[in-house]
């Protein structure tokens, strides 16, 4: 039988060899989950954390931490979200209006607690947490999600309220409030986990984290070459090392490798973007994980490469002491900033990367991104003179996306970009 199938199979299209940095990131992710499993087995406490929590704190304390947002994105990207979404909106009684990352995770947590029979496609590698680490610099919805997780799993929640930023800078009163919470959180975490805070180790972790932020930003910035050395969507694949392993040397190694690979492409005049780069665009919002392939395929048809994103660079967090950390984490996420800051960051990116258009992902999961997006679109398009389009999608819920709509919208954007190009 197997011989017959082999014989009947079409000749496989030769694939580009997988970049070494990609293999490294796969290994790092496997290690993260394996460490969590081993920690659980040995009775050590394992935490779950919001994605823009100061990871350096947990790293300094030597805590094993997993990241629900990252995990839910992975489940969605592998098209495994459906049973979790059904479980959450069915037996658990949650509204389908909620963030799909949260819905997937709350259902997953229910399985870990033994109250649901949904099969875990990854064998439960996201092990049951003993505590939670929360910051709300991404959104206020995270606060509610983690409140519920803490109650559901009956575990403590360690929270740093980073406060929304309606101003163009982080007020000193915010820095003092956040710094005070950081100090208290470190003390509380030490008591809970039995770990000791080591200032020297923290300085070391901070150095690594700063190096990684620099390397991450550098890799993103290398996309300013024309044509771009990478297919922009590939950078999404590396986000896990900044989200989950920002303070680790393994991330330094991966990002050095990534930078070297990009530089090699630049010097060779090659690119991982599979076709001629006709248009360069920026992407606004979280990736539409369930349809990443369709997004890429459609964009490729028109030679559109995503060379800048508003999102991935949120993890390029720079500071050099705890006060600086407080300020940086208040200002890190583009979601926590006011419209002027958002617009200026995006404008700089459009200019730097030579973008000819912007694609806005109206992410049904994410009100904080969507509810001011239209004003951002108008202002940014006006000052940058760059057209835009938007499409309806979701970071993890496959039901909120239409392939036809995406294709039509991209087609429309391409027409305007082409016209602009011809007029130049």
């Amino acid at each position: 039988m197997s011989e017959e199938r082999t014989a009947a199979a079409p000749v496989a299209k030769p694939k580009n060899p997988k970049a070494k940095s990609m293999t490294m990131i796969g290994e790092q992710t496997d290690t993260l989950y394996e460490n969590a499993r081993l920690a659980k087995e040995s009775g050590e406490k394992v935490g779950w954390s919001a994605s823009i929590f100061p990871q350096e704190i947990a790293e300094t304390l030597g805590l094993v931490i997993l990241y629900p947002e990252n995990h839910s994105a992975g489940i969605a990207a592998r098209h495994q979200a459906d049973p979790f979404l059904q479980e959450c909106e069915g037996p658990l009684g949650y509204s389908n209006d909620l963030c799909a990352y949260a819905k997937v995770n709350l259902a997953y947590a229910t399985v870990l607690k033994g109250n649901s029979s949904v099969e875990l496609p990854d064998g439960g590698k996201m092990v049951k947490p003993d505590f939670l680490l929360l910051t709300n610099n991404i959104c206020t919805q995270l606060t509610k999600w983690y409140e519920n997780l803490a109650h559901q799993l009956d575990i403590p929640l360690f929270f740093i309220d980073t406060c929304y930023n309606p101003w163009d800078y982080v007020t000193e009163s915010r820095v003092r409030y956040v710094r005070s919470q950081i100090d208290q959180l470190i003390k509380n975490l030490c008591v809970f986990t039995g770990k000791q805070w080591d200032e020297e180790k923290f300085k070391e972790v901070m150095k690594i984290s700063q190096k990684n932020s620099y390397l991450w930003e550098r890799a993103n910035n290398l996309m300013d070459c024309k044509p771009s050395p990478l297919s922009g969507f590939e950078l999404f694949n590396y986000m896990s090392c900044m989200v989950c392993n920002r303070g680790k040397e393994s991330t330094t190694a991966i990002l050095k490798q990534l930078n070297a690979e990009i530089e090699q492409h630049i010097s060779d005049g090659s690119s991982t973007y599979p076709t001629k780069e006709e248009f360069r665009v920026s992407w606004d919002g979280i990736a539409c994980w369930p349809f990443l392939r369709h997004n890429l395929h459609t964009l490729k048809e028109y030679g559109v490469n995503m060379v800048a994103s508003s999102y991935g660079k949120a993890w390029a967090i720079e500071y050099d002491d705890l006060d600086g950390m407080a300020r940086a984490y208040c200002f890190a996420s583009t979601n926590g900033d006011n419209a002027s800051t958002m617009i200026s960051r995006r404008y700089e990116a459009l200019k730097r990367f030579g973008c000819e258009g912007t694609i806005y992902h109206v992410n049904r999961s994410c009100k904080v991104m969507d509810c001011q997006m239209m004003e951002i679109q108008r202002q940014l398009s006006k000052i940058a003179g760059v057209p835009f389009t938007s499409f309806d999608g979701d970071q993890a819920d496959y039901r909120n996306y239409s392939e036809a709509q995406f294709e039509t919208r991209i087609q429309g954007l391409v027409e305007v970009m082409r016209q602009n190009k011809e007029e130049k």
Partner: protein
């Protein structure tokens, strides 16, 4: 003293036409500040010599607002944006927007760029109230707001004025809580709509004025014999219970409201400002630390279910209506727990979707009828 019906009509008129209240104060030479939901520190406005006026949406079809908010944004925010863009709030000297949810965060920016003739004052409350630094931080937020308010009046608020305002607001809270108790003895007069109007109208009057009116209503009610209500009694929980026609449906189905846990109503009056514990600004900040049982305020333990059970017992209610604001994620996270807690002790609860623009009332009528039978 006006008679009972006159007073009730006055409050109803204010709810029906808040614009007339705004014009009334403007004609008196007062400046008026619009207060978005929820827990806006009205006291800062009041003590600065201005009138705080609540703006909680209303019946208006969003057209202009569609250029700012997606269809799945909170209906109250859609309405506020629409009114703002259409110029319905002309005359307000500023609005204060507390950023208690993701949509409200964005509203600060939409308003800032969309309704440029009415300045926006953001209010970012601390959510980690266990942190000792949260009070200091909140005081600094209040001070920023006060500085912005001073640019409108040309004068700084002073300690004495805020102390006086605090007395007025605490007294108002006491009177409103008393009204909620007394109203339950007179469910023939204090129908669901009337109760709602007495509560809601607090947003459209200077508070001492409102206290006088409501105190008068209470006095008149107390002189009347208690009414033996034979219908069913419910408690409302959620953000708000509007449009009014929804409350009329309750009345038509012999359902009275004997308590509420609505942010729009009793939650406003639930927590007093401490009488001691520091200067007036600090005490105002401590009120925030003392607030409880609201989906918009971070708390551990999911205690809202127990809070409702206690209200149920205290008010001899027959069940609950969860007024679930459409697209309100903070409420949606509380929903499974509060419903579950009530189900565990066999207290009936039904959840209805709240949308101030709602026109599908037949379905609601059927739903309420069914709930009545369950009660």
């Amino acid at each position: 003293m006006a008679d009972l019906q006159q007073n009730l009509m006055r409050l109803k008129a204010a709810c029906k036409n808040p614009r007339s209240q705004l014009d009334y104060y403007l004609k008196q030479g007062k400046k008026v500040i619009g207060c978005f939901p929820a827990f806006t520190p009205e006291e800062l406005v009041h003590s600065s010599g201005m009138i705080p006026m609540g703006i909680w949406g209303g019946p208006i079809e969003p057209k202009l607002a569609k250029s700012y908010l997606p269809a799945f944004a909170c209906p109250i925010m859609q309405a506020n944006m629409e009114f703002g863009l259409r110029g319905s709030y002309k005359g307000l000297s500023a609005v204060i927007i507390p950023t208690l949810c993701d949509t409200l965060r964005c509203m600060t920016q939409n308003w800032r760029f969309g309704v440029t003739e009415i300045p926006m004052i953001p209010m970012v409350y601390p959510q980690n109230r266990e942190s000792t630094a949260s009070t200091e931080y909140l005081i600094s937020e209040f001070e920023i707001a006060l500085a912005m308010l001073a640019t409108i009046t040309g004068q700084m608020m002073n300690e004495k004025a805020l102390c006086n305002t605090i007395l007025i607001y605490n007294e108002h809270n006491t009177v409103m809580r008393e009204f909620a108790t007394v109203a339950n003895e007179h469910l023939d007069i204090i129908t669901p709509s009337v109760r709602h109007e007495v509560m809601k109208s607090a947003f459209f009057f200077e508070k001492a004025e409102h206290t006088t009116i409501v105190r008068d209503i209470i006095a008149k009610l107390k002189k009347m014999p208690a009414y033996k209500y034979t219908g069913k009694k419910v408690i409302l929980t959620g953000i708000t219970c509007e449009p009014n026609v929804l409350l009329d449906i309750l009345q038509k189905n012999d359902i009275a409201v004997v308590g509420d846990d609505l942010v729009h109503e009793s939650q406003q009056f639930r927590t007093d400002i401490p009488e001691t514990g520091g200067g007036a600004l600090k005490r105002l900040a401590l009120q925030w630390s003392n607030r409880y049982g609201c989906s918009l305020i971070h708390e551990l333990g999911k205690n809202r279910g127990q809070l409702l059970i206690d209200m149920y017992k205290k008010n001899n209610a027959n069940g609950f209506i969860n007024c679930l604001m459409k697209f309100c994620d903070p409420e949606e996270y509380d929903q499974p727990y509060l419903e579950g807690d009530l189900h565990k002790v066999n207290i009936p609860i039904t959840t209805i979707a709240i949308d101030q623009q709602s026109t599908n009332l037949e379905q609601l009528q059927t739903r309420i009828q069914g709930f009545y039978e369950l009660l």
